[in-house]
Amino acid sequence: MPKDHSTLLGATRGLLWLMLALVAAAFLFVMAAAGALVVIWPDIAVGVKDSEVFIDPATIRPPLFALLGILAMVLAVAVFILRKLQALVASASSDPFIPANAARLRHIGWALVAVQLLALPLGSIARSIAVPTSQFADMGGIDLNGILSILLAFVLAAVFERGAAMRDELEGTV
């Protein structure tokens, strides 16, 4: 394998670990936020009222819990995707065209579908509680890049499946 590819793979490996660390940090933040909503809600309510981001600060506690729950699910799916990508990158340096990688890419595709589906209630809850001009109301919803990523993952899965079949055939050639 050319040297520039191994450098790229090494950089990707490092980036994936960094992203896993960021997701872990985000998960801790979500858990801390959920805990804060339970423990110090009166203080948060005062801050929320002053921020003028939410339409009705008095009723946002349950929707905020729902948002945090959905965010936790999105982060769990992100961990799943990153772990699959790590396995893909690990095999890329030696033997990438194996049926397991096609399955991994298909799993990533379905996980991305799950993220898009979770983004829909996320967006609608955010829009229902935040003033339309706020950044908070822009959260979630349908994302064209996300849909393109889903298509790319499924197309790549098909390519890897074909590649694995071709390699299998080549290995059986005498």
Binding site: D168, E169, G172, T173, V174
Partner: protein
């Protein structure tokens, strides 16, 4: 499998072992073994030519079609 490889019979007729054939035609013993046991999925013309040349046979002597019953 419908295509049967008669390499064993040809080797026996020539009083030759698989190792001898491997040494003479430069194809690994592992690959020839795959061919002999019918586990090969495809065969190169170069392999066929080398075997036919060494065993003085025709492709039809090596590969025989037997319909699945």
């Amino acid at each position: 499998m419908a295509i049967v490889v008669k390499l064993d019979d040809l080797l026996h007729a020539k009083r030759m072992t698989l190792t001898d054939l491997s040494d003479r035609i430069g194809i690994t013993l592992a690959n020839l073994s795959i061919l002999k046991t019918g586990k090969a999925k495809a065969m190169r013309f170069s392999t066929l030519e080398a075997i036919c040349n060494e065993l003085e046979c025709q492709p039809g002597d090596l590969l025989v079609f037997e319909a699945d019953s």
